[in-house]
Assembly symmetry: D2
């Protein structure tokens, strides 16, 4: 006899290859808690509506509770010959309490049930990810405060550009994480919609109370159209996209940690406990963690592209292709959870090397923009000032000097408008201080960013 | 002499290949209106803050206005040897009004300027796309009302499943479009942030009034961190992702229009004016439009993947790689604008073939679920009822009959609980009427969906 | 004490989070056979070169053989606290035979070792995939012969176009599979290159005999540059791309099987044993297998995009990001192996419904092109003939007739050149027979395609 | 009257939106030369087979030649209201020579014609790309010879690993390019197949001589199945994939040029003529070219993903979706052509800074592996030697010394096996020399790589 819940119309049992290829039990067992939670809410409602009796309901609920308990404890052996977690739970129920268990599926299809389970799962995942994003943000803010005075070169094109505060640099990532958090919050609104009641695709014929189920499961809305409800995976795609952006941000931080921990930059030292070695080169201490975070970005992008491809051109309503949503989703959740946790650890434990940064900020003509701005204050147009300073830099380079190493005379030769006060425009610390516009790298502006961040984090 | 705005520090002029490879003028000229609008706001603020004089400001503003006018009229010849639209406008300005034009760039970098221009562009694009989505929604709702009574088979796995109202089927797409619209609305909030004042990466040394510029340009917020501001392209990626989901939805509709206009389905007839022929086969009338919409989904997905790849692993702050955002963005905007317009036209003008749909709804045992539900009302458990009906279907198939063509005796032989009232459970129209839960395909439920849609559309 | 093979230079043990995030043992244990095979070849060569003694070699080889035996039997418990399969095997070896086992890694790094293991794995995978492609080809050819006479409409734009032989249609997939097979063959040449001897990145200082190892392991070439060798994953990407094209082809066949098994087309009947049912709709028999094949295309595309992203912009030589290659590869192999097997089963067991196809080929003016060609033979230019037939079709449609149902007079009214012999141009079987050019759908041309295929398959 | 070549069967003219959305003339005009070349071969064959007369053929050929001449000269104004390049040429022909021009399309469909045109285009593109790859290879080999003695640190994980020759490092890219070239060669074989004769999908009814056309156009094979021929885009996807791998390789080189031209590394100096400046920062000299190459990788990946998506799940044979292949292809060709040319320029003109590299190779314990190998030669097992050296490095670091700065006594304290000869194991130049295995970084091994490369390049 078949172990399927749909055999009546079939002359032949499914072939082993169908079972194996078709089955999702090996990955969707991960949804057992959501599946049972949803079934319990459905069951209570069936009883309340008089579709099943209170006794039937009690019996079902008790057995479901037992099953879940065993699964929670890791005592339950998942029979991988079952088709999926939904069939497995229903069949287990019937084995335990007999035919009354066969009533649970009344007014429901796997099509709306699987949508429900995935929604409950994604809702939890979002809540978790949002907390972990907050951990990264807190670590950034803490580090920004801890290393608040450090000055390093800000880079564009990986060329030294202008001196910035390390705190300012770190808070750039705070902003990215803030957007990530908001996107997940918005995503959650579209997840938090009850699909149950949509049945196979056209809605149920039973007098179900969809509102009651929604209330019990904490959903803010009912799905508005049953055909859409069973074939909609937008909320999964949105989650994976938001995860992709998040990973992209972490990959940028990862790249910086890799570059900064190179011998040449030396801006950062990873603790031994967060580094790894080489099987052959005894001296190596490698930044595997930020590299892996960077590398895992591809994995999440891949899941996004994979599921987008799968969804392309599917006619309504449910198609089996949709089953491909789950492994991509699960791996995305695992990956971002891990990467966020590792990022927090890294941010908490890396050492920023103040001196290396400060030394770097002194070489490379980082004050050139300020010097041009100075010339503007002396009456030059900005474009003229820019050109003049460009030539001064060229000349200084040829002499092997930095701008602040030139004499006043040399400076004045290039531009007679220059006065003695010019030298205070050439010091990195002064350059930083001059940028106090909102969002700028000036110490005051950064303090305000920090205060706002603390407020947003509620800490 | 070089036609660059940054030549001072260089001994050699850029090589032709650099110019050509590096230049963006051939595509970013599309941003001229945004660029000039942003420059005018910047200029007014510079004057207000006393950084330039009112006279200088007037002169600059007037020349910018002239330039924009010529560009609007198509009279302006874009010199493709310029580096980009920002340089071109600045150099044109200087040519027209002399060195006073060189003051415009005071306190600004191309890094924050290009971010500004793109934000203005995306904001406009979102507003346009939202209107076009609304057009599709209106066309869906109109068609749903026009063809309100039509019944067709609802499909899962492209197999006939249960009868549904065509209106219900169309409103599934309404829901998808609704989510699309909301995602673009949320995207807009993150677009609507002023980056100007961030300068190259560290903020400006001039006493700029960022709030004034934001007010003038209609931005709701200031960017919070200058390093983030010049390297952030999240809002572009979000736009392209939202466009990808939108295209995915349109590809599903496209697939259905292609399948439905096949000879075999025959549910829909495209007007001649929206069809094309073959160069060799005289009889052909092809659904090129929905096919192209379906096909263009790949293009937008590709832009998403392309820009995500480009952004991966970039260190802060600005890197030249970011220049690759624009062509992907522009083509995405063009594609979704066209596809939305074409979809609206199609929805307005296709003919749904009521008889073909109705005939199809009568064959294929579409009432089987209802028959199982009927047996549940007679006391069977759902799983037992499912199995019983499965066997009835198998038996009917072997006799070459539909369920409603079986005699009462034959039905009762399969399940003695069956009474004479069973036949009203087997009629497609009755099956539809039995599904009046919120979101279901029942006429009342669909009417409520329509009313809600009208309300949401404000029509 | 650390369970790492590289602890000497570290003051602190790696943190649990590093171990967990960094470790690959949970997925790379799949490479145990390749790892041990490679180690044995390395060991023999070390002895042959006098780097270790024959006794040492014997001892190591015997222990490796034992370990492999236990792993093959499933008796070995993989300790998931190890870092990776390479460390695990080395440490197990040392546990069994003491310090002599510490000599195995002489002249080798994990960087070249992992490349070796993956190459051996991909080589096996390619050989397997090529055989499975051949199975699909055989099933196509068998089916083409079995159903050799069946005529169905050929479609373009999913509109009936011209009648074709089913055998011809099936052989189109034969051609796709042929290209797939060739691409994997070419891929194999680039896989079949020995990286060992490259050590960490610069080559080994020991007097290794790379040629001997290559011979023993069946590699046709040595890698030409050690820095390239340890950082090259082209061959993995090529494999995943070839798998992507293969999946794309299978997705097209899957789509056709889904469409053809719809009630409306009815060209094909899937056996019960290769179909599945619905949890709620008792009548459903769904083509889950071809749907899943279609859906899994996204998964493989995703892996391709993921690994391409990971590789983008990595500096030389090895970076930890490369570890992300394996899970994508393994899942790709599993997916294509399964999909090929399922496709073969489907092709062997589906029933093509001759009558449904033949009926379809008679409606829809499929002979229109032939009629135009007939007019060309009567002296019209092709463009004129095309237009004339177009008008005949339009007129026939308005009368609700097919072309062959028009009278000779009616036909001649449209084009006086028409003679009585025209009717043989309008019969589907005659249309097919008229296309005997190489590659055409004529029975003779198809027979030649079949013969060539049989020859290529060596059967 | 419509300007379509297929209007006969239609009551209504196509709508403007159809024309605009559907048309490909704005991009496929790029195929004019291929289109006309193919038409001329088709025309000659028609005459040879007696399907048209020699006079007709002459007239057509002469007119086509004229049209092509005008197009080559840029004198021809492409009428963008035409549907596509195929229609445009045919209609232009008829305008010039009258109805005889209407005979050209005999035995041909746009479906096989467009496949032909694209194949001719890709074949040319491959030939061009292969030459440009060779240019890069020559530039690499020249630079490797020019800078043959330079030693720099080889990196793994961006940490200094072992000293290598710059020539060796450059030749790693030579190997990548070699694989790229071979993949394009193999791709070419699958491109070089004549589709003409496949007509719409089922083959032509005319007695065409496919072999003659193939010979004239230089195709090595005929397509084997007409349905496959009109719907196959494998060869385009293969091209874009090969381009993706190529771009990935260039992105790695780009990343290295960016990192190496940072102030911190300083290994490379870009010439002014191949660098760009900043609009605001006068001192900046940015490596825009390698950044752009790196960034454009995303673009090509995107095209790959886009077209793969488009092809997924398309039923046979031709579908309009296929039209989306061309823009992706054209942009890919343009991008790789530009990036290859720019890479060659960069390689020819960058200056490698020998001293900076040499200095870097002296710091960071790069000889640690050699020291371990030395200990192996003194009888330690490799694992023991690795651990011992690890501890020596740790101790040296704490003293702020490099290994070669330790006294013999200090070294012996760590490992009594050490003799005086150890110091020659610690010198970077000696480390390099010790790696003379095939593919290693030793001067002799590198010379052999260079010789082989020269031979392969035929120079």
């Amino acid at each position: 006899m078949s172990n399927k819940i749909w055999g009546g119309r079939f002359r032949e049992k499914p072939d082993a290859i169908v079972d194996q290829f078709n089955a999702s039990i090996h990955f969707d067992q991960r949804l057992y808690a959501q599946d049972i939670e949803g079934s319990m809410a459905h069951c209570r409602m069936l009883a309340k509506q008089g579709i099943i009796t209170e006794e039937e309901s009690s019996s079902i609920l008790q057995a479901l509770d037992e099953i879940k308990g065993e699964m929670d404890q890791g005592e339950f052996v998942f029979d991988e010959t079952r088709e999926d977690i939904h069939s497995l739970v229903e069949q287990e129920l019937v084995e335990r309490i007999g035919t009354v268990g066969e009533k649970l599926h009344t007014g429901r299809s796997r099509n709306d049930q699987v949508s429900l389970d995935v929604r409950l799962y994604v809702r939890d995942a979002i809540d978790r990810v949002i907390l972990l994003i907050r951990d990264v943000q807190n670590a950034l803010v803490d580090s920004a405060e801890r290393n608040g005075e450090f000055i390093l070169p800000g880079y564009t094109h990986l060329q030294r550009a202008q001196p910035v505060l390390l705190a300012h640099h770190l808070l750039a990532y705070y902003e990215m994480m803030k957007r990530d958090g908001r996107r997940f919050q918005e995503n959650r609104k579209r997840v938090n919609v009850l699909p149950l009641g949509s049945a196979a695709l056209a809605g149920s014929t039973f007098d179900l109370d969809r509102h009651a189920v929604a209330r019990e499961l904490g959903f803010a809305e009912l799905s508005g159209n049953s055909m859409d409800a069973v074939s909609d995976r937008d909320f999964v795609l949105e989650f994976i996209f938001n995860a992709s952006l998040l990973m992209m941000h972490l990959s940028r931080l990862g790249e910086e940690l890799v570059i900064w921990s190179s011998h040449e930059f030396g801006f950062v030292t990873l603790p031994d406990a967060l580094s790894t070695g080489s099987s052959i080169m005894p001296q190596k201490k490698n930044p595997d963690l930020p590299e892996l975070i960077r590398g895992k970005t591809g994995r999440v992008y891949g899941h996004l592209m994979g599921l987008l491809t799968t969804m392309k051109g599917l006619p309504l309503a449910y198609n089996k292709d949709l089953q491909e949503d789950k492994e991509a989703l699960f791996d995305t959740v695992d990956t971002v959870v891990q990467c966020l946790m590792v990022t927090t650890r890294l941010l908490k434990e890396v050492t920023f090397n103040e001196k290396a940064m400060a030394d770097a900020a002194k070489e490379g003509y980082l004050a050139a923009t300020d010097l041009a701005d100075y010339l503007v204050s002396r009456g030059l147009t900005f474009r003229k000032a820019h050109e003049t300073v460009g030539k001064m830099v060229l000349s200084a380079m040829e002499q092997g000097k930095e701008l602040h190493q030139l004499t006043l005379e040399a400076l004045q030769a290039a531009s007679p408008e220059i006065g003695e006060d010019v030298f205070q425009w050439l010091d990195p610390a002064e350059c930083v201080k001059r940028r106090e516009l909102p969002g700028g790298t000036g110490p005051g502006a950064v303090r305000k960013q920090l205060e706002k961040a603390r407020e947003e984090l509620g800490s």
